[in-house]
């Protein structure tokens, strides 16, 4: 979906693991005043075409990064400011490392290059924790069935069908959710951070249960010339818990004429 000011610089918003582009609902109005705003759902999420998903391509974040490159190439609007939330921040890092010319700037919102504990690096989680998450996903998918899938996912032209189901924007096929959870939480992109050559802003929350304190600083220190902003906000989704501050940080960074 494309909204906002025509002809203005382009800001592309990429949602993280869990829900879909609705996550940006509270910041889009503020961003749309300044920019052309591009919203999309990762394959397998929201109203994306489920048939485009395949287990091999999307087993790692590279498949998602290729999608971002494809979207940018197809839009052909020149370099964009890519705002990636959570796992999408690393998807943006991978895409920008691969095709720097497509990206004017990167905004990494509550990023974590590695969720697992590893020696001196404190990602916050153990492999057992991730298994627990997969179990948690599973027990909340009891209502899911193959017959419901087309109702929720298969009617891109008739979104009202999906909206009647509460919680629909955070639901997807359990197999896809499981695969995305694995790709997200078991990836280690620490080595990719140093390859970013695009002006980058790291935005972290003061109290984030998923990207613990210290991870934002690690990302900032690893990406040459990047900046770090810490929002006084709780949780992993500042675009929901602190939408004004989040939008302001994006506008301040993406609006600068560098």
């Amino acid at each position: 979906m494309i909204t906002g000011r025509e002809g203005a610089p382009v800001v592309m918003l990429a949602h993280g693991f869990g829900c879909d582009q609705n996550m940006w609902r509270l910041v889009v109005p503020a961003l749309a005043r300044e920019f052309t705003v591009v919203l999309f759902d990762h394959v397998g999420a929201g109203r994306s075409d489920l048939s485009a998903w395949n287990p091999r391509r999307y087993a790692t974040l590279d498949g998602y990064a290729e999608d971002v490159v494809e979207i940018c190439t197809e839009l052909a609007v020149g370099p964009v400011t890519f705002v990636g939330h959570s796992v999408s921040s690393m998807i943006g890092v991978l895409a920008a490392a691969r095709r720097p010319e497509l990206f004017a700037r990167l905004v990494l919102l509550t990023p974590s290059p590695c969720y697992l504990e590893d020696g001196d690096y404190h990602g916050g989680f153990s492999a057992a924790d991730i298994d627990e998450l997969l179990a948690s996903l599973e027990s909340n998918y009891l209502g899911w069935s193959a017959t419901m899938a087309p109702v929720i996912m298969g009617n891109p032209d008739r979104p009202e069908l999906g909206e009647e189901l509460t919680n629909s924007f955070c639901r997807t096929d359990p197999d896809i959710a499981r695969s995305f959870a694995r790709a997200t939480f078991l990836s280690d992109n620490r080595a990719d951070l140093g390859r970013v050559r695009v002006p980058t802003l790291v935005v972290e929350c003061s109290n984030d249960a998923i990207a613990p304190t210290g991870v934002g600083a690690f990302v900032q220190a690893s990406i040459p010339g990047s900046e770090l902003v810490t929002l006084t906000a709780t949780g992993h989704c500042p675009q929901l818990s602190a939408p004004e501050a989040t939008a302001a940080a994006i506008v301040a960074f993406a609006g600068t004429g560098r």
Binding site: C19, I130, L134, S136, N140, C170, T234, L240
Partner: protein, 409 residues
Amino acid sequence: MVCADSDDQIPFAALLEDSLEDLYDNAPCGYLSTLLDGQIAKINATLLGWLGYRREELVGRRRFADLLTVGGRIYHETHFAPLLRMQGEISGIALELKAADGTRLPVLVTSTVRTGGDGQPLLIRTTIFDARDRRAYETELLRARQESERERGRLQRLTTSLQRTLLPPVLPPVPGLEVAAHYHIASLDEVGGDFYDLFPLAAGTWGLFLGDVRGKGAAAAAVTSLVRYTLRAAAVYDPDPAAVLANLNTVLCTEYRDYEPRFCTVIFGLLTPDADAGGFTLALASGGHPPALLLRADGTVASLSTPGGQLIGVLPDARISTTRGRLAAGDTLLLYTDGLTEARTAGAGQRRYGDDALFDLAAGLAPTTAAATVDTLVGLLNGFGDGLDDDTAILALSVPAEGRRRPST
């Protein structure tokens, strides 16, 4: 009216005299109020009892997410909290709480956001139900579902491999002939009953057949298998198409004499290279099968009808109808099963596609080649979408047109 024992009963009013506070604290479910950032502001005695915490250990000091298992916390951050924020409420989410002594309590959580007069969210109210029994039941359901999904996968793999054994893996190269085929499987769960084959016979001649066993599934697959091997063996014995089908009819009638009759429609053809004129002469026999189409080099189309041919496997003396023709340079022979013509077309009325439409399509294609014909028909089949609910087999053979004939090997 006064009941005799009314003096023994405590009046409702006295029963209900319990304070709201008592109602809250000792409700049969957990109550929790948090600030928007999840910080616990109020918690009832029931929930404290389940968790084994003292009130002062939690209120003002811990967040709701702190009470969850780590996996649950991730789920909370990535699903629960965003949904609650966007919808103002969320219900029946399965989570596990961690008690003070480390034990886990499966619960179902429902939350609503309380807003002030100006619509601004103020705090989150949460009710928590003990879901131990229910979770055990759900785990069993989940296990059963995973089992059934595994079994379905196994069945589909089995069906696919069985289907493969009933069709030639690749069609053999025939000197001076281009061949193409397509098989559309209507259901992943059941083996289809359509079949075809093309195989060498003595003295440079080739046998070919295409047909449709009535029914689906394992029983139909057994018949398909029998039909295929009977046709191939019979053709070696006597390649005359009418004789081949007569043989098949006898076999089917005898084999299933004491059971529910199993029958099929089938076209059998014999191709003989025409040394003088080039191309092939063609002898066809049909038992109740839709007519083959001949798409000629001059752009005309002929329906190679075989009127009066009867189903194979029903009557001991089934009438088998034959026809002869020539497959010259630039000609294409098309055989198909009725899955194609019986498909429902999109749009008003959901009419069947029909023989006439196929004839017109062929007329538009001619002159053509086997590959182009099959490509076009595959596109047509895909276009039917859900309207195509039967298996469909397509077999096309063409003699390369003059000037583009490949050297025969």
